[in-house]
Subunit: 418 residues, 2 copies
Amino acid sequence: MSNPDKTTKPSRRAFLAGAGVAGAGLATGAFAQDSAITVQPWMQELGDGVDAAPYGMPSPYEKDVKRRTVEWLTADNASSINFTPLHNLDGIITPNGLCFERHHSGVARVDPAEHRLMIHGLVDKPLVFTMDDLKRFPRSNHVYFLECAANSGMEWRGSQLNGVQFTHGMIHNVMYTGIPLRLLLEQAGVKPSGKWILAEGADAAAMTRSIPMEKALDDCLVAFAMNGEALRAEQGYPLRLVVPGWEGNMWIKWLRRLEIGDEPWHHREETSKYTDLLADGTARRFTWEMDAKSVITSPSPQAPITHGPGRTVINGVAWSGRGTIPRVDVTVDGGMNWHEARMDGPSLDKSMHRFYFEFDWDGKPLLLQSRAHDSTGYVQPTKEALRKLRGLNSIYHNNGIQTWSVDADGRAENVEIS
Amino acid sequence: MSNPDKTTKPSRRAFLAGAGVAGAGLATGAFAQDSAITVQPWMQELGDGVDAAPYGMPSPYEKDVKRRTVEWLTADNASSINFTPLHNLDGIITPNGLCFERHHSGVARVDPAEHRLMIHGLVDKPLVFTMDDLKRFPRSNHVYFLECAANSGMEWRGSQLNGVQFTHGMIHNVMYTGIPLRLLLEQAGVKPSGKWILAEGADAAAMTRSIPMEKALDDCLVAFAMNGEALRAEQGYPLRLVVPGWEGNMWIKWLRRLEIGDEPWHHREETSKYTDLLADGTARRFTWEMDAKSVITSPSPQAPITHGPGRTVINGVAWSGRGTIPRVDVTVDGGMNWHEARMDGPSLDKSMHRFYFEFDWDGKPLLLQSRAHDSTGYVQPTKEALRKLRGLNSIYHNNGIQTWSVDADGRAENVEIS
């Protein structure tokens, strides 16, 4: 791999020149009066009125834009995963209807009027809150990514899944509205010995995770809204713990209980699961923070190049549990030459970032990769480097560089190169 | 009205002290072991699996969170308006399914494979683009508000509609993804005499508006996505013109044609409509920019205070077509005392901003108002001041301060005070 410092940096002049070059490849951009002045059928009839959809849905032409599951991955759909269609999306907001789901006993059907949040254990004053109680506390709004620790997990032993939806789609990025957990803990009064929190969900799995007090007091939220509206049921309606930058399994859904203790609980989901088994048989534990990662979402196996040679947009996303993404590099030749991508859209802490790289495709096969740099200076590693460190046993925390091979017809495949 | 400079400014100390005070009002926050340890029915059964909703919808408990229309407002639902339920929302992102709609011949059912965008008129090279052609140009992502010029228009003659959804709900705020219009115009080569653009929609109304070239070259987008996914049909699928900070009627939906000319076209929607009839019978024209505005979304007539006296959160939104909102003031006594609200969430150019004001309600009647300051120093005026300038004939560009009266039971009403 070439030196990251030797990448080319896009200048405004290069960007505009690039846009100019685009014309050459846009053969269909020629004036064709017959198609342009056609008065299409939809201009000749009234459309639906404003009473048609009190809560709107996507156009029927977008019916293939949906969450998908992988049948062989789990024994039952009530303890499974579906995946965000990253290849269909743009910008940095994931629409609520397309946010990936992972649940261990299905989507709990919680009645918000009956739901309670209890704070107890090593506190001065145990408390029980109704939803109405909680909404009297000051609230805060942040766009955060949520990534499952198992995202890209099936790829440790080589490329398995042919589509960015499946290799990287256990992630979403939404604006959460919630109460800083710190304010609720202050209300209960945490005793000096209180160093850990057990968060528990109100689903049939009663999902639990241990959270260190330092993180709880820093930036955790008890969230009740996402992208402006109430949480979706599959995302923990009516209440979810938001643990910014940390693995998704800790973001307890249907949050009902916060117990304060002096040490972690060592429950199932932080011992036999969500720990990283190394080659020597020992396991890494409490690997909460999500390392910097990026992936090209288009072209990709589910989003081939259909327009032939000429001006082509490479589209992708990057994120880091430790801050922002000031830079992403892209290669079209498997790492022989790296180019600095164009970052676009708001750059927010612990949020997804969008990058683009526009280039003129000569119609020859491509090996596409992207490489994220985060605001701490960390650079996304190769899968090879990760495997040297951790072996092949783990399914968690694979943030290695992804490769798509594109053939002369524009079709893309999930491959590995070394 | 008191001097805006005499408002109180919240300090971090006051914020924390306020949060402490909250406990006093939160009587239901007492420990009640029986309700907290109840194992609810939803913990005793498996929920829905991940195959249940490939495109997800809100919880059934949120069924009243929806767009609503006002039956008497228009003769037919195919040329009408429905309104965003602002009182139910939080943060700054409007979910796509709840974005207000305004159309003049119903929602056009456009097939993206057959859709074309033509650029012609005073250009070197007339062009026709398919959707695939357009997606080869560099794209950009921005969160912008879209407000109808008629938002709050029914209030010129006094309070008419009892709910913030109806008085202020002709607005939404989403992340748009699109091609800078400048790049498409560069491709066609605008002649020196080309000073105006006619944008035309592919609906049965063939909606048209004249846009000055300076704005087109500045920040307009030809957008194909909103909040990450394809535009919704009612928002112009597959292509809409985005005209940041300017009145919504110019944001042509189902965009099919951009004609370059040397003067405006003076079509119906910029002469007999979307102009502001003054008291002397003359009309203001080309009043494109949306002035700074704010409104308290809760408490409000559709969102009464239900918890009785004590700690209460005032929640609201503010926006300006000229920049950002660094400050909003709130009064609970009809303007005798103003307090600086707490701004929260990203502050983005020409985007909605969220503000909060937490206070201890003594249970006596309230007169709630909010007043936005934008980044140019402009301060939101009273309705009275606006009426002195413009009279009562117009229905457009009412950005006056809104008043809600709240009675001792927490019920809110749309009122006017002088």
